[in-house]
């Protein structure tokens, strides 16, 4: 079967290394997560070889970078098709893949093998201090590298859209990607005043994950739904605009829920509480959207796994980002929960549901085509993939529940009592060990799910010859 019957433009193939490398980094993220899960219980595990702060930096930075690889892969795959023309420069896309992969690997090796203070000194942090802030720990050269890669990437996909067809899907995706790159520039701004530093730090962190990343997520979801359901594009795109409108209308001022206790003025207590209460709405509409489109489908697409990821990402994003976000977003609640394990619970399910799952959704849809297997992997491979889906998703539900339990007890012991009666941080931690054990076991479940998921790729090769689904001619259009 020639690849021409599977996807429309040869240049869509550049997405493949991005997806493959994203999943490799995902494995690393989970392994370091498990190490941290154990360090929460056995405090000196791997100390001083791998202190907790290093493991955490690797865990969170791998997450961010694999999602960025996933988003770029998604854009390289769907933008040529949406724009109805070849990618402006496939060569540039491949070159940038290697630049970004090398920068990512070097950064992680730097974290692991060089003491952080030495790394900071070596990489110019005394000239322009940007390091040592949560999620923005990357050395200056890495941050510059991210900007270079992002600019080349935006130029490449931007030229493709400009010269080609503009659809709601690729315009919203482009807006999200441009926003992502522009907001990252605040990573270079590190004011001397801690409150001001924190204030603009959220321009990167919040306006990414509760702002422009939602645009990226929604447009990828819209694309996959158009492809697998055959529902009229006009209908899908109307939903897409409603979702992204709700995302930005609630999410921009929703930033205020991070400004309660960092030295910003009191007006944010109201603005942050009110607008972040609206933040679950776009995710709720995404659930309606995914289920509606799939119920109203006009064709039976053979890739059932991709449809499951599409529904799954909407539901889990609503639960993780929407419900678990709302749980602690009101200022009077957040006063007690801020900076405790509730935040960790929310962070885990939100990132998995909204962003890890949307990347696995587009990978599920695109990879069988990119690998020349067909419209969909074999049934056996899809069953294996669904095992991965359910094991990872259920494990993440349990990780979230156990961290929530830990957070509630933590707040009860350390935050609610008056000074003098409240338990100290470390004594409180000792009381949470049961939750941490259960969280770790759930984490092992997640790893098993991830292994099933990865094995499904192998299985689709093994069984491709004898159990190949028949491609639908309509799909090539």
């Amino acid at each position: 079967m020639s690849s021409q019957t599977l996807f429309k433009f040869e240049s869509q193939k550049v997405a493949k290394p991005y997806f493959v490398f994203a999943l490799m980094l995902f494995v690393g993220q989970i392994l370091f997560g498990l190490i941290m899960g154990l360090q929460y219980i056995i405090g000196d595990f791997l100390f001083p070889l791998l202190p907790f702060n290093v493991a955490r930096m690797v865990h969170t930075n791998l997450l961010i970078v694999w999602l960025l690889f996933g988003f770029m892969g998604a854009a390289y795959y769907l933008i040529p098709e949406e724009a109805d023309r070849e990618l402006h420069s496939p060569k540039l896309a491949i070159l940038m893949f290697w630049v970004f992969a090398a920068a990512g690997v070097l950064t992680i090796l730097g974290y692991l093998f060089v003491p952080y203070a030495t790394l900071a000194e070596m990489t110019g942090n005394n000239i322009l201090a940007t390091m040592g802030r949560e999620f923005l720990e990357q050395p200056l050269p890495t941050k510059v590298g991210i900007v270079v890669v992002a600019l080349a990437f935006l130029y490449n996909v931007g030229m493709t859209v400009l010269k080609g067809r503009k659809t709601a899907v690729n315009v919203v995706l482009m807006t999200g990607l441009i926003g992502l790159a522009l907001l990252f520039l605040f990573a270079f701004y590190n004011p001397e005043n801690l409150s001001r530093d924190k204030y603009y730090w959220w321009y990167v962190v919040h306006l990414w994950v509760e702002g422009v990343w939602e645009l990226i997520m929604a447009s990828i979801l819209a694309y996959v739904l158009i492809k697998i359901t055959g529902v009229d594009r006009e209908v899908v795109e109307k939903w897409l605009y409603v979702i992204v409108a709700l995302a930005l209308i609630s999410g921009i001022l929703g930033t205020g829920h991070h400004y309660f206790w960092i030295g910003a003025p009191g007006v944010w207590l109201w603005v942050g509480s009110i607008f972040s209460t609206l933040e679950p709405l776009p995710f709720f509409v995404m659930v309606l959207f995914a289920f509606n489109m799939i119920n109203r489908r006009r064709r039976e697409h053979p890739n059932k796994a991709a449809a499951m990821w599409a529904m799954g990402t909407a539901v889990m994003a609503f639960l993780g980002a929407g419900v678990w976000g709302f749980l602690h977003t009101l200022a009077p609640v957040n006063y007690y929960t801020h900076g405790a394990q509730i935040t960790a619970a929310h962070g885990h399910m939100a990132f998995y549901g909204a962003y890890a799952m949307i990347v696995m959704c587009i990978i599920s849809y695109a990879m069988p085509k990119l690998r020349g297997i067909g419209e969909a992997p074999s049934n056996k491979a899809q069953i294996m993939e669904l095992w991965g889906f359910w094991l990872m998703t259920i494990s993440m539900v349990f990780i979230t529940l156990f961290l929530t339990g830990a957070g509630v007890v933590e707040v009860w012991l350390r935050r609610l009592p008056e000074s003098g009666a409240a338990m100290s941080f470390m004594d409180t931690q000792d009381q949470l060990m049961l939750f941490y054990w259960l969280r770790l076991i759930s984490g092992v479940g997640f790893l098993i799910g991830l292994i099933c998921y990865l094995l499904s790729f192998k299985k689709s090769l093994q069984t491709a010859a004898d159990d190949r689904p028949v491609p639908l001619p309509a799909e090539t259009a």
Binding site: Q39, G43, D44, F47, P48, P51, F52, N53, V54, M57, Y116, A117, A120, E121, N125, A129, G132, R133, E134, A168, E192, N193, L194, S195, R196, K198, Y199, V235, E237, K238, Y241, V242, V244, A245, L248, I249, I252, L253, G256, F260, W261, I262, G263, A264, P265, V267, Y335, Y336, H338, G339, A340, Q341, A344, R415, P417, S419, G420, A422, M423, F425
Partner: protein
């Protein structure tokens, strides 16, 4: 969604709504900028405090600790550690001694690395955490334990 609500209308809400709230957001940023100097005692933001922040960042303290509730949740909150550990009288003695005693080496217990900071750096870090503890945080954290 009904036929009277068109894609064009949805698109206009997206563009118009986003633009409107971006403008409100920028206005609030202006207001915040105006209030930060007073709320953070910017007049006490000395060179030592600035160096102390740099030390806090260069050693990735936020990889384990939270500061005003942000960072990691593996080790105690440091936004009010000044008040918790000695205050005006004692904190400047407590912090250097504490940092020099790490790691404790107690088996199974969470360990803080030895950062080998100089006395000057420890003093700067102390100044930074004292300044931080005096930021007007709307009365957060709820109690001394952080």
């Amino acid at each position: 969604m009904s036929e009277t609500f068109t894609k064009g209308m949805a698109r206009n809400i997206y563009y118009g709504g986003s633009l409107f709230f971006i403008l409100v957001f920028l206005a609030l940023a202006y207001h915040t900028e105006k209030t930060i100097p007073e709320r953070t005692n910017a007049d006490q933001l000395t060179e030592a405090v600035i160096r102390g922040k740099h030390i806090y960042e260069s050693n990735n303290c936020s990889g384990c600790h939270s500061l005003l509730g942000e960072g990691a949740y593996f080790a105690p909150e440091l936004g009010n550690v000044f008040h918790r550990r000695g205050g005006e009288a004692g904190f400047k003695y407590f912090l250097p001694a504490w940092m020099k005693a790490q790691p404790t080496g107690v088996p199974g217990r969470r360990q803080m690395p030895q950062f080998n900071l100089t006395d000057q750096q420890l003093s700067d870090l102390t100044e930074f955490l004292e300044w931080t503890a005096k930021i007007n945080t709307n009365d957060w954290p709820p109690n001394i334990e952080g």
